[in-house]
Symmetry: C2
């Protein structure tokens, strides 16, 4: 070791959860093939990544005309990845409404090891039935909160307590819009840690260039599970980059149990086989992060802004003020039209940050 051991982690283990084959699907229109799934899952398994999550970007049962049809069915994804994993656990993600109990049953039949049920950050109650079903079935089930920057630390902690009551064996928060800075993450993870005894998870996005720093802040605040993807392969500006955050956590004294060289190999395979180019932070990514709006709005915001002759950045900031969430895409037209009526921007761009 040429570098000093900062020792911040005190040798505490952190479990790395890899949703490259689920969140990455957002970056390629849900078009990964069985060969691609197999190539990456095998490499991740070799590296010793503890959990490999697979699925449509929006989770089990979500493949549809509305959010995009996956190239490969849920059944095929699960059987392919199951065959490729020797050591790693197989994870899936489900949003109630998109997926249902029948999808959970199918995942169990395919030998899933860990199911995450996701809801909007203030709607943990929507996970009650599914977490209950999984508890009865004896399957490890975590409850996770999306767009978590829209709720206070205290509210997030209360939702997590509820998720544990429903049966969650782990809880956590997603920075779906890539809006957090490290202090925000530390505060929220600490609040949740103080409220529950199950492991706490953090899932970052890189819109403000802070995905790695936010993940470190989460681990330092007591998160036991950190999500990260190969080259950051994921929605919008991408996720926490797994082959970066792992050695950084190790340098700070945390233990991941992952082999660095094999992890770098897996990331090289992901860059070569799964994606056109690794994610970068473009101007819309920055604005959606600052505004706290899910980057999935990007395509429609750009289309509608062009049609209405308004600045898409103004539209994003206004959607942020209105606390828009997925499913409220109709708001984009209203916002763009009212901006046009008001003659463009409502206030100077400098004051918006």
């Amino acid at each position: 070791m040429t570098q000093p051991d900062h020792g911040g982690g005190g040798g505490r283990p952190v479990l790395i959860h890899d949703p490259s084959l689920r969140d990455g699907h957002h970056a390629v229109g849900h078009q990964l093939s069985r060969e691609q799934l197999r190539a990456y899952a095998s490499a991740a398994d070799s590296a010793g990544i503890p959990v490999v999550e697979v699925g449509h970007g929006n989770g089990l049962g979500a493949s549809s005309l509305q959010v995009g049809r996956a190239r490969v069915s849920d059944d095929e994804m699960l059987s392919t990845v199951r065959e490729s994993l020797v050591h790693s656990r197989m994870g899936v993600f489900m949003l109630p409404g998109w997926g249902a109990v029948r999808d959970l049953k199918r995942a169990i039949d395919h030998g899933v090891d860990l199911v995450r049920i996701g809801t909007h950050c203030t709607e943990g109650n929507l996970a009650e039935r599914h977490l209950g079903f999984l508890r009865e079935a004896g399957v490890d089930a975590h409850g996770v909160l999306l767009m978590s920057h829209m709720a206070s630390p205290q509210r997030l902690a209360e939702e997590c307590v509820r998720l544990v009551e429903y049966g969650a064996t782990g809880v956590g928060i997603l920075d779906s819009a890539g809006q957090y800075l490290p202090g925000d993450v530390a505060e929220r993870i600490a609040a949740i840690r103080a409220a529950v005894t199950v492991p706490v998870m953090f899932h970052g996005h890189n819109n403000l260039g802070m995905a790695v720093a936010n993940s470190v802040a989460a681990a330092e605040a007591g998160a036991g599970i950190i999500d990260a993807c190969a080259r950051g392969f994921g929605a919008g500006a991408g996720n926490t980059q797994i082959e970066v955050v792992v050695p950084v956590l190790e340098r700070l004294g945390f233990r991941t149990g992952i082999d660095l060289y094999k992890l770098l190999d897996a990331a090289d395979i992901a860059e070569r086989e799964l994606m056109d180019t690794p994610p970068t932070i473009d101007s819309i990514g920055i604005v959606s992060g600052l505004a706290g709006v899910f980057s999935g709005f990007k395509k429609r915001v750009l289309e509608i802004s062009k049609r209405e002759g308004v600045d898409p950045r103004d539209v994003f900031f206004e959607l942020g003020r209105l606390q828009a969430v997925a499913g409220q895409e109709d708001l984009i037209i209203d916002v763009a039209q009212s901006l046009r009526a008001a003659g463009g921007a409502r206030e100077g761009s400098r004051t918006r940050v």
Copy 2:
């Protein structure tokens, strides 16, 4: 504002220094044209970026067969950017040995506003004559320390005191290898701040995904000047991304005086006009950051490792242990051959972090 004002900066001004047209040259073999220089300099000026630095990647006088010949001469670069700037100051960079006093005179004739003299982190004495010349000439001159992770905070502070004695009106450190984590930066900036009264600068690279977080840590520790480039355009894994760090600093309560939308426009122009693709963090970038080796070694390490049949990652880590610096490229062959003789890696990859 939809986001809380964290207020960490207490409204303190931070001066953003933009070396896109100098450090970015490393990413394109020093081949920017006059039209490209003009397009970006004008956009940066419109956005209100205080300093626009231009030149060959290795600075004034460095265009050569050894490190690459620039497409445009120093004279042409300086006259082109000078014509394009109305509000921004024009900066240049010089490494004694590559550049000389005659190059400084030429830059002064072209109306340069700010000169940076760079040396290896423990060799500030090499800047004495040039800083003295610039002081006599009445030109704002900063002394900056390269590969600064190779010296202790105390040693860096001592070197900076010396630079000020020579005439530097500002001092600072470059994380040339992208090796720092935020705590490292905070410690070093604080030590320098305690030792000098002139403004202190930090220049980051993104090898460990920490360029933005490190720059924030520098500002919070009292750095008054932060380097950042459009889309991170710079050597290796790239620099701190300017259009990201500016709104992040503003959100934390610092003031940059830069217009966000015009800054985003400038970055869009840079992505479209200056670079093939924005920098991303590849496996060699990560390893060079962890090893503390300048990423400029990459090409030769890959060539020699292939020829000798050894793992280039082992070569990087060994070069790091040997504290290799630019100019010591001959070490690569020695290291590769001794690794081959030893039968490959000297120890397990997991222990290297």
